[in-house]
């Protein structure tokens, strides 16, 4: 591993609670006993940091590696290179027992509320699991806590004995959130938590997450393909493309002045309810396969501003103004605050 000079963080004043450096994650490509097995990289070198109580949105299209990032950050899928530290502890180097103990402080909410609950166990038992695993309360105490958690996410505590199939999608997502909150975590990773829900229910869950964050001081990593939701919920946004971060900025600034051509295209392609935009020029083509990424900047094959040099070198994520980072040399050259190459 080459020595990596860690770039300035978005919030240098706050010590990051969760921090990842040079994350890579490969999956075995297809190939049998004697077939050439090659590695497909879902993450191709990602740096990430989350401060205590901060909400960071990770956006990108399917295949950009955002869901893999969520699992690697929680060490549910180990990184093939790089490391994740939580509160200064390297998750990869931690003994199993300590890692399990640490899991109390970081929790996950899944996309599909129909798959994330065990269909055979009452929801109260599932919410109590975390409390009992970490011995946060006695069995009696756990019952009370489950009731409190259900009330907190807006469900009737009397329903603790029901099975998941008795609830609607939105309600199940509330149950999943209650389960994640059961261990009093410091960080909640939410992987597309509203995209499987009905349109009229999505806002309920977004409001709930926002409310919990302000009440509990919860750190939030919000993975989404929906730029509008991210903007509504997050302090900072990270844009990913084909396994790498291409831009990172405070939410309001990212939407006001997107720097990276991909961010710009993504914003332009997201349809708006308020106006018909006839001028938008959709991006050509689709995201290349992670099995065979283009050389240099992965976005250059679709980029309206691509230069011959973009095929040469993998662009680094560099400082681009206060709290902003960008991986696009041609654009960086135009930004006054950026260190010119």
């Amino acid at each position: 591993m080459n020595v990596h000079v860690s770039p300035p963080l978005a919030f240098p004043d706050r010590r990051p609670l969760l921090r990842a450096e040079g994350l890579k994650r490969g999956f075995k490509g297809r190939g049998g006993l004697l077939g050439r097995s090659h590695e497909v990289l879902a993450l191709r070198g990602v740096d990430f940091a989350l401060a205590r109580g901060e909400a960071v949105g990770v956006v990108g299209e399917s295949g950009c590696g955002k869901s893999t990032l969520a699992r690697v950050l929680l060490h549910l899928t180990p990184a093939t290179a790089g490391r994740v530290t939580f509160d200064g502890k390297d998750l990869g180097a931690l003994p199993k027992r300590e890692l399990r103990a640490l899991r109390r402080r970081m929790q996950l909410v899944f996309q599909d509320p129909f798959a994330s609950l065990d269909p055979r166990r009452p929801i109260g038992d599932q919410i109590a699991d975390g409390i009992l695993i970490h011995r946060l309360a006695t069995r009696e105490g756990a019952k009370e806590k489950v009731a409190a958690l259900l009330a907190q996410v807006g469900l009737d505590p009397a329903h603790a004995g029901r099975l998941p199939h008795e609830f609607s999608g939105g309600q199940r997502q509330r149950i999943a959130i209650a389960r994640a909150l059961s261990t009093d975590p410091d960080v909640l990773v939410a992987d597309e938590p509203v995209s499987a829900l009905d349109v009229s229910v999505q806002a309920q869950v977004v409001n709930l997450l926002k409310d919990l964050r302000s009440r509990l001081g919860l750190g939030l990593i919000f993975i989404s393909h929906d730029l509008h939701v991210v903007r509504h919920l997050c302090d900072r946004v990270v844009v990913m493309y084909l396994g790498r971060v291409v831009e990172e900025a405070p939410a309001a600034e990212l939407f006001a002045t997107p720097h990276h051509p991909y961010t710009q295209a993504l914003l332009a392609a997201t349809p708006s309810m308020h106006a018909v935009d006839d001028r938008r020029e959709p991006l050509k083509g689709e995201m290349p396969s992670p099995a065979n990424p283009p050389s240099g900047c992965a976005f250059r094959t679709r980029c309206p501003r691509a230069l011959p040099a973009c095929a040469e070198e993998l662009p680094e994520l560099l400082h681009a103004g206060p709290g902003r980072r960008l991986a696009c040399p041609p654009v960086l050259a135009e930004i006054p605050e950026a260190p010119h190459a």
């Binding site: 297809r30 049998g32 006993l33 004697l34 077939g35």
Partner: protein, 317 residues
């Protein structure tokens, strides 16, 4: 497709090596002295002199690795040893009998497929209809009657009571083709009863499943004629699961020939095996088990290749 074929063939060769080694190892994996084990009858300790003689004949007195090398050297020369009973070379007996077993399996497969496929399809196109209910009932019963019961009852009814055919036996094709096929019909049909029921069931469920797929609805939305939808979009796609399940049953099909050959006096390889096991003729048993297992591996290879021919996605995997 070529790379796929080569890869699959390589895997099959590895399996052959594994199978052959396992067959070799079986006698050494069982606790106790193999020669003594083979000679013991009903708990009576065998004559030590006989044990020593058998050990020498089987080469069991040599070091294990020498035995293993000799074993492989023999296999490459086509030498499977000689029978303990009559000193007859095992390989020549196998060469004589293997084609007869293959013929039996082939005929059974043809009968099973030509009954199971069309009826399975028709049943699935009208699920719950009269044909479906009757055929499903027959298939359910067919699957539950052991092959030797079918064979024995068939002899009782068709040979003993009705006198249509003789109870079994074999006549070479060259000698009397008509009689050859008449004698083939009953054992082959006996095997086909269970296999046909399997083919029927899996065809029915595969066709039903494919009928519900989006691409069938899309073909309808293009206005494609019903006959073409069934042929091109339903049956064509249903063949892959049928093939998979038939492959899974290859093993019990090959095993079934043991019983059927015994019941019908079909002088194939499998029936020969029963005689060898009864006599505890170790070289014979080894040779037969090895050849049938290798045959099994290669039949599976054929199935894999057919599978790839049916589905373009498999070829690229």
């Amino acid at each position: 497709m070529l790379a796929f074929t080569l890869r699959r063939t390589a895997i099959a060769l590895v399996l052959v090596w594994l199978v052959a080694t396992l067959v070799f190892m079986v006698i050494h994996l069982i606790p106790g002295d193999p020669a003594e084990l083979l000679l013991s009858q009903g708990g009576v300790a065998p004559d030590p002199a006989a044990v020593a003689e058998l050990r020498e004949r089987l080469g069991l007195d040599l070091p294990l690795y020498t035995q293993y090398l000799n074993y492989w050297a023999g296999l490459f020369r086509g030498d499977f040893g000689v029978s303990l009973q009559d000193e007859h070379p095992v390989a020549s007996e196998i060469a004589l009998r293997l084609p007869r077993t293959l013929e039996l399996i082939g005929a059974a497969a043809v009968i099973a497929l030509s009954v199971g496929l069309p009826f399975g399809t028709m049943a699935a196109l009208k699920p719950g209809g009269r044909l479906d209910r009757i055929a499903s009932l027959i298939a359910g019963i067919s699957l539950s009657v052991p092959v030797f019961v079918v064979g024995t009852l068939a002899i009782l009814v068709f040979a003993q009571k009705l006198g249509w055919v003789s109870a079994g036996g074999y006549v070479a094709l060259a000698q009397d083709p008509v009689r050859h096929f008449i004698l083939l019909l009953m054992p082959a049909s006996t095997i086909a009863v269970g296999l046909g029921a399997v083919v029927f069931r899996v065809t029915r469920s595969a066709v039903l499943e494919v009928l519900g797929r989006d691409h069938v609805r899309a073909a309808q939305a293009r206005g494609v004629r019903p006959r073409l939808i069934i042929l091109r979009h339903v049956l064509r796609n249903a063949l892959s699961p049928v093939l998979t399940v038939v492959a899974l049953h290859l093993g019990s099909l090959l095993g079934g020939t043991v019983l059927v050959e015994y019941v019908f006096n079909w002088p194939g390889l499998s029936g020969y095996l029963v005689r060898s096991v009864e006599a505890r003729d170790y070289p014979e048993v080894l040779g037969i088990v090895l050849s049938i297992s290798v045959l099994f591996v290669f039949l599976n290879l054929l199935v894999d290749l057919a599978y790839a021919a049916l589905d373009p996605r498999v070829r690229h995997a």
